[in-house]
């Protein structure tokens, strides 16, 4: 093994040793190491196997562009696949292993795929297995689904843990005047100028240290400069965030960041989230995101031991690792000359092969030999490079490390997120940011400026532009900074090496195993646009998103099409720049915090009285109140029976409640309800239906007139928010002339329904003046405002959802439990009981009363059997469009009741009503609710069927329940299955 840790140099702390586990073996590293640098120092070359051909892969870079050293970290629930070893900080006890290999990295059975690689071109699996004859001729993709599972396992990225994520994540928010992304010379300079001019600045850096390329330098002056700049920006008040990636840029200068809080810690404190997801709202943005070095497509350009030239320098200068002793550097530009010199100085033999005719002059005795006008052809060695075949010399020139520089690609991803066009610059062979009016300024090598000094100056210019746009009077720094500055000699574009008569397997996307030949295949298959090329070959679609090789793919496609890259354009980069964990996106919105839970003021009271709760929408409501030994079925049947025989109490606080007030309220209500409201007298309530503009039912509820100008509206639980928003829209947008004000008072009033023949007796025992509850003072739909015992203010209306003599009682929320104590104590001598949602459903289904289950937004007022509630004397919302012929069609599905033919049988809600012998498709209707009816002594249902009751008199209908595989014969009845005349509630 050739790579070795040097005894001095680098930014690592040799005083402290860190031990970690790689593929079951103990290795060591130092604080300041990444997993990649420690693996390299530990002599590990094969880090993973490739996605498709299972070729051995090693470390190719020293950053986020990595496409070879992709590993799985951790065990059990903490297992985290597809982690780039090049960005993972080393910590004590870290456990990592390679991916895609079985039985192990060095002997991988899947490697046979490589021998068949010429049979496995782009699109192979789809072409071969989809619609595979003879099974799938014209019959869909059933077999493909089975093959795909196997194919995916063979290919496979790392596998995620199936256990719930044990870590916590947080969402956080920040505001600033200027967000600077990247802390290289450009970013640091921009932040300094902006902060010194009084801006609030946030500087984010994805690395664990600030400094960008300053961290990779050998000369001590760079470090001095870095420390000076850092100290100056802190003095100027810049907020700096390391280990934080700006993964996306959005409208209004909003940026998404992920901060890795504990991913580098061996034993993180319990209170720390693993990651924080930041939403930063800034006014201006400076992108100093740097540039990434490109590879060149030559034969076997993916072998372990081949990496970007700058990575070689980074491992040497930052991590104190000499990555090879016998090094060949291939290039088409100036940038690897300095790394070559530094590696030679550190003790390696370095041979430089430059594709250009004119090359930079090197001092004699510098230890680097240069061969111009030469290009690499093919790398030799399989689990590690052994030599290079090139035009520089005869035969194979031996080496243990091959550094490659195919030019540089500015990191313009965040600009692309904002839809800003990228422009190909032929002179320096890269895509650069196009012009934009957006408040985004690009500086440093992200703008194609290569020299460190010039990068700093361009950062100052970017900050000055941002300041200018914010209205500061700032003079732009003078001095010309031109694109490509930092290079003495021009780059010579070089993307792929082709040798006539030889097949070279060269890769353009290493992580997805896309070869140069795949790109040409895409062209032969007729693909023209880069977007289609990408999707056909999956070029740039792996977790590294083609950061090292995409441009080569574009260049090859352009060549095949006879275009230049400028005219081809590039694919659009989309967020995230690097992968973001789902945990970070979710933040704390998991488990019981996934959505809010609403509890009524009677919640604790219900629980202490034995309620079993259930979630209805956001509401946690009493479901049933079991007595000793009762099942849910026993309980709800008993509760419904008691309510019909004596009296039952039910928490109805979740109903929407709206105070509608003002001189024009009567007119307003008359417009929004289908039935007349203009003449509702004080002290009376009315049941009402609201339609949408398109004539469909929006909601039903009641409205109580308390005074001349003060009304109390109730809505269904499900539609409470919708109705509130709707009323506000009508009053503010459509009818601004109406003097009406609406206020949601749902949370202000606790409600209980008292239902059953003994309900009046219960209320009489609880109100201060029992005479108010008589049939004369409080007739059906009568409203009284009075006090309950103990001076509890209350509103009572005689309204019945159960079909019994019933009252809805509302008291201010804080009095809720006291009200329940009063009512329950008064009902006990009468053998009354509490009832829950299940019995509430039973009672209303027996009566054919509709709820949200029926009023699902696709139902007209006639469908719901409430046609007589549509006034002919007035116009109201939805009046015109509800009269369209299709809406009035008698064959529409209408509300009906359902009885089993054999009264001992039962059926379920959510099932389909069909004609006998025609059990298929959507059938003739559907069931929205089913229950055992204690009043009728058998199971009943409510639902919709085409044409309604009249069309099905005397006929047998089948309830089809394909899920439970049972069909029950039923008959269709009128929806009012119990007490159709309503005597019990009106009497």
């Amino acid at each position: 093994m050739s790579a070795r840790r040097l005894s001095h140099g680098g930014r690592i702390d040799r005083a402290k040793t860190i031990s970690f586990d790689w593929e079951g073996r103990k290795l060591t590293g130092y604080p300041g190491d990444t997993l990649a640098s420690a693996l390299m120092a530990g002599g590990q070359r094969v880090i993973g196997r490739s996605f498709k051909y299972h070729r051995p892969r090693g470390i190719m870079s020293a950053g986020v562009e990595e496409s070879g050293a992709i590993v799985t970290l951790g065990d059990g629930a903490w297992r985290d696949p597809n982690v780039k070893a090049t960005t993972q900080e080393l910590y004590d006890g870290l456990v990592a292993r390679g991916q895609h290999a079985w039985p192990n990295l060095h002997f991988d059975m899947g490697g046979v795929a490589n021998f068949f690689s010429r049979f496995l071109p782009a699109g192979f699996y789809y072409k071969t297995f989809m619609g595979m004859p003879p099974f799938e001729w014209g019959s869909g993709t059933g077999w493909w689904m089975r093959y795909e599972k196997l194919i995916r396992r063979a290919a496979g990225m790392g596998t995620a843990s199936r256990a719930p994520d044990p870590d916590a994540y947080e969402h956080a928010h920040a505001f600033c005047d200027l967000l600077v992304v990247g802390s290289g010379p450009a970013g640091l300079s921009a932040a300094l100028v902006a902060a010194q001019s009084g801006l609030e600045v946030i500087l984010v850096e994805q690395d664990f240290e600030f400094g960008g390329d300053l961290l990779n330098q050998a000369n001590p002056e760079s470090e001095t400069k870095r420390i000076e700049l850092l100290s100056a920006i802190h003095t100027a008040g810049v907020r700096t965030m390391s280990r934080t990636t700006a993964f996306g840029l959005y409208e209004n200068s909003v940026a998404g960041l992920v901060e890795r809080v504990t991913d580098h810690l061996a034993n993180p404190a319990d209170y720390l989230p693993r990651q924080r997801f930041w939403t930063v709202r800034s006014k201006q943005t400076v992108l100093a995101t740097g540039a990434l070095e490109r590879l060149i497509a030559f034969g076997n350009n993916d072998r372990p031991g081949i990496m970007s030239a700058n990575a070689g320098r980074t491992y040497l200068n930052r991590y104190g690792v000499l990555p090879g002793e016998n090094i060949i550097v291939v290039t088409n530009n100036d940038s690897p000359y300095q790394p070559a010199l530094e590696l030679a100085k550190a003790g390696a033999t370095v041979h430089l092969i430059d594709a250009r005719t004119t090359t930079p002059e090197l001092e004699k005795g510098c230890g680097v030999s240069v061969k111009s006008e030469s290009i690499p052809i093919k790398a030799h060695g399989s689990k590690g490079i052994r030599g290079l075949e090139s035009t520089a010399s005869e035969g194979i020139q031996s080496c243990d490390l091959l550094l490659v520089s195919g030019g540089w690609s500015p990191v313009v991803h965040l600009l692309s997120h904002r839809g800003i066009k990228l422009v190909w610059d032929a002179q320096i062979a890269c895509f650069l940011p196009g012009d934009t009016d957006a408040p985004i300024h690009v500086a440093g090598s992200a703008a194609g400026i290569w020299g460190s000094k010039d990068c700093g100056a361009s950062g100052q210019v970017a900050a000055a532009k941002a300041l200018g746009q914010l209205g500061h009077d700032i003079k732009l720094p003078t001095g010309k900074i031109s694109r490509g500055s930092g290079w003495d000699l021009p780059i010579k574009p070089l993307y792929e090496i082709k040798v006539p008569g030889r097949k070279l397997q060269s890769f353009v996307d290493l992580q997805h195993d896309v070869t140069s030949e795949d790109v040409r295949l895409a062209h032969r298959e007729g693909f023209q646009s880069v977007e289609h090329l990408k999707r056909f070959t999956t070029l740039g679609m792996a977790t590294d998103q083609g950061k090292m090789g995409n441009i080569i793919g574009m260049a090859l496609m352009a060549e095949a099409l006879g275009k230049n890259i400028h005219d081809m354009g590039t694919t659009t980069f989309r967020p995230p720049y690097t992968p973001v964990s789902l945990g970070a996106l979710g933040g704390r919105h998991v488990d019981s915090n996934f959505r809010p839970i609403r509890r009524t003021p009677l919640h604790d009271w219900n629980l202490s009285n034995g309620a079993i709760m259930t979630l209805a929408g956001l509401w946690d409501r009493p479901w049933y109140f079991p007595r000793e030994g009762e099942t849910i079925e026993d309980a709800y049947i008993r509760e419904a029976t008691v309510a019909r025989k004596s009296v039952g109490l039910c928490d109805i606080t979740s109903l929407g409640k709206i105070a509608v007030q003002g001189p024009d309220t009567a007119e307003f209500l008359n417009r929004i309800y289908t039935n007349p409201f203009a003449k509702l007298s004080i002290g009376k309530a009315r049941y009402g239906i609201m339609l949408r503009d398109d004539g469909m039912v929006m909601d039903d509820g009641t409205c109580w007139r308390l005074t001349e100008t003060d009304y109390f509206m109730t809505t269904t639980t499900a539609h409470a928010a919708t109705v509130m928003v709707w009323l506000e829209e009508l009053l503010q947008v459509r009818w601004p002339d109406l003097k009406v004000h609406v206020t949601s008072v749902s949370d202000q009033w606790a409600g209980c329904t008292v239902a059953g023949p003994n309900s009046r007796a219960v209320l009489e025992a609880c109100v201060t003046d029992p005479t108010l509850i008589s049939n004369e003072t409080c007739p059906f739909m009568g409203v009284i405002e009075t006090t309950l015992t103990g001076a509890i203010p209350s509103r009572i209306a005689r309204i019945s959802f159960s079909g019994e003599l019933a009252f809805e009682v509302y008291v201010p929320s804080d009095y809720g439990p006291s009200m329940m104590d009063l009512l329950f104590n008064a009902s006990k001598p009468l053998d009354g009981c509490l009832y829950g949602l299940e019995a509430l459903g039973t009672l209303r289904i027996e009566k054919g009363h509709v709820t949200g289950a029926e009023l699902d937004g696709r139902v007209t007022i006639e469908d719901a059997g409430l046609g007589k509630m549509a006034s002919k004397q007035k116009s109201y919302i939805g009046d015109v469009l509800r009269k369209r012929p299709v809406m009035l069609d008698k064959n529409r599905a209408r509300l009906v009741g359902i009885f089993p033919k054999d009264r001992t049988q039962r059926f379920n809600a959510g099932t389909i009503l069909c004609k006998p012998g025609a059990i298929s498709g959507f059938g003739e209707g559907w069931i929205t609710g089913a229950t055992y009816s204690p009043a009728l002594g058998h199971w009943i249902g409510i639902g919709f069927i085409s044409g309604g009751f009249e069309s099905w008199v005397g006929q047998t209908v089948v309830v089809a329940d394909p899920v439970r595989d049972q069909n029950i014969n039923v008959e269709i009845v009128l929806p009012q299955m119990f007490d159709p005349a309503g005597k019990r509630s009106h009497d």
Partner: protein
């Protein structure tokens, strides 16, 4: 992310608001001909550029707003209270 400068609350994230609909529509009288209602409810232009929309500051002041938004860039050009009278008060035109 769209940021909307609410005239009552200041600039806020769009997640505080609910999108309403086409703000250029004048809804017909409740007894207007069917044709007018069909046009008002169903006929929408698919504008590429600036359009007027209604937004409801539902998790804020609960005021309905008229918003001019560019459908390509999401740029917000003008925001005012949808209610003329309220808008007048805000702008000192009482």
């Amino acid at each position: 992310m769209i940021r909307i400068p609410c005239p009552f609350c200041g600039e806020r994230d769009h997640s505080e608001f609910h999108y309403g609909g086409d703000g250029s529509i004048t809804y017909p009288a409740l007894d207007a001909p069917t044709e007018d209602w069909l046009n008002a409810v169903y006929q929408r232009k698919n504008i590429r550029g600036v359009q007027i929309e209604t937004w409801h500051h539902v998790n804020g002041c609960r005021m309905w707003l008229l918003v001019e938004r560019d459908t390509i860039t999401h740029e917000i050009h003008l925001v005012r209270a949808a209610h003329d009278g309220v808008d007048g008060v805000l702008k000192g035109r009482t």
